[in-house]
């Protein structure tokens, strides 16, 4: 079960050697992978919000255009 949880977080099949781990251990790894993925995603999301807001006023239009006008 936890093998599936890890595969889901990874978006790929975990290496065969990880089958030596218990369900609880695989579950712990899946949680850590999920947390680290969120850490990366949140950092990028926060930066998107900040960059346009904090770019020098005359350049804001250019920055917004390059970022795809999403902000």
């Amino acid at each position: 079960m936890s093998k599936e949880a890890l595969a889901k977080e990874l978006g790929a099949k975990p290496p065969k050697g990880l089958e030596a781990l218990t369900n609880a251990e695989l579950k712990r790894l899946a949680e850590l992978v999920g947390d680290a993925r969120v850490y990366h995603e949140e950092a990028i999301q926060l930066a998107e919000d900040n960059v346009v807001k904090m770019a020098p006023r005359p350049l804001r239009g250019t920055v917004r255009r390059i970022l795809g006008g999403s902000k």
């Binding site: 050697g17 030596a20 781990l21 850590l32 900040n50 920055v63 970022l67």
Partner: protein, 333 residues
């Protein structure tokens, strides 16, 4: 060569990638080093592989003046995204931005870099900036990131960084260094006094796996130099080495090393005064690995008194039969 050490080093690298302590995921060692390396590659791809959201930022990085980028990087972008962008923008632009940022902030970025993109970013930085980053990394105990840098820092800078690092810091960096050839060169440039100090630190501070890993990753000359320096250390260090060999499963590295010491008598004495479990562990490791060439070489270097004690310990451990392949050598006067 040593699966135990490779798996342990992989766990340390994985822990850094997962923002946890190695002890929290020590259970993963049993997956084996190959699977752990593959798992780490999967994680790097998961965290760093999708550039679609980052490329837009990189475009800004290539268009705006470096002073504005530097200020935006620090105030708005933050180290995680900056590290992603750094791998995508022109190295010369990255260098121009970095030169306008403080060393602590550049270090924040360094620990978040995609391990596969360290070279283009780091390799282009001036030596003094690199030395500053390396020293800051070590101060923060970011040994995995430092280990990833070793291959891209010039020899002089690395020598100066290693000179300032403590013995245990150096051992921890060496253990997770990717470019072991560069590490071997840096180690070969250390003085005998420093290597002796490193070996004593391994014993006193519990870093034998890391120290023995240096043996694994050094040139032949470096190997013989290290084992002879180890063989000259005092009784306490020898006892610590023998105890750690049993505790940490390091016999497969220690046995050939002791056999090839010019004068292994001090280490042998430590083995001969070790408790029953340790001696049995040594004997079983020799038999399991069929390390008879090493055992033969070792026995040939024993004094008559040591050889008699060795036979006695084998008898007490009920391992005489197991040592039949070297019985003749053991019987020799």
């Amino acid at each position: 060569m040593s699966e135990v050490l490779e798996a342990r080093a992989e766990v340390i690298k994985l822990a850094r990638l997962l923002h946890t302590e190695p002890s929290e995921i020590a259970f993963a060692e049993k997956a084996g080093s190959d699977s752990l390396r593959e798992f780490r590659d999967q994680l790097v791809e998961l965290f760093y592989g999708n550039d679609s959201g980052v490329e837009r930022f990189a475009k800004i990085g290539n268009l705006l003046p470096s002073s504005i980028i530097a200020s935006l990087t620090k105030e708005a972008v933050g180290p995680v995204l900056a590290a992603r962008i750094a791998g995508l923008i022109e190295p010369k632009n990255a260098v121009a931005v970095v030169s306008k940022l403080s060393i602590p902030f550049v270090t924040d970025i360094s620990v978040e870099l995609d391990p596969r993109r360290v070279e283009p970013v780091i390799g282009a930085l001036p030596p003094e900036t690199l030395a500053g980053i390396c020293k800051e990394l070590i101060k923060r105990k970011e040994f995995v990131a430092m280990g990833g840098f070793v291959g891209f820092v010039d020899e002089d800078t690395l020598a100066s960084v290693f000179k300032d690092a403590t013995d245990s810091e150096l051992l921890q960096i060496g253990f997770v260094t990717e470019d072991t050839a560069r590490l071997a060169i840096a180690i070969s440039q250390l003085s005998d006094e420093r290597l002796g100090s490193i070996i004593r630190a391994a014993g006193h501070e519990g870093y034998w796996p890391e120290a023995l890993d240096l043996l694994r990753n050094t040139s032949d000359d470096g190997y013989f130099r290290l084992i002879d320096i180890a063989s000259a250390q005092d009784k306490r260090v020898q006892d610590e080495l023998v105890a750690a060999s049993q505790r940490d499963g390091l016999w497969p590295i220690v046995i050939p090393a002791v056999a090839q010491m010019t004068d292994p008598s001090k280490t042998i004495d430590a083995l001969l005064r070790s408790d029953a479990k340790v001696f049995k562990g040594f004997a079983d490791a020799v038999a399991a690995d069929k390390a008879w060439v090493d055992a033969g070489e070792l026995i040939a270097k024993l004094s008559d008194q040591q050889r008699a004690q060795f036979r006695e310990r084998l008898a007490k451990s009920e391992r005489v039969k197991a040592f039949a392949p070297v019985a003749e050598l053991l019987a020799a006067k």
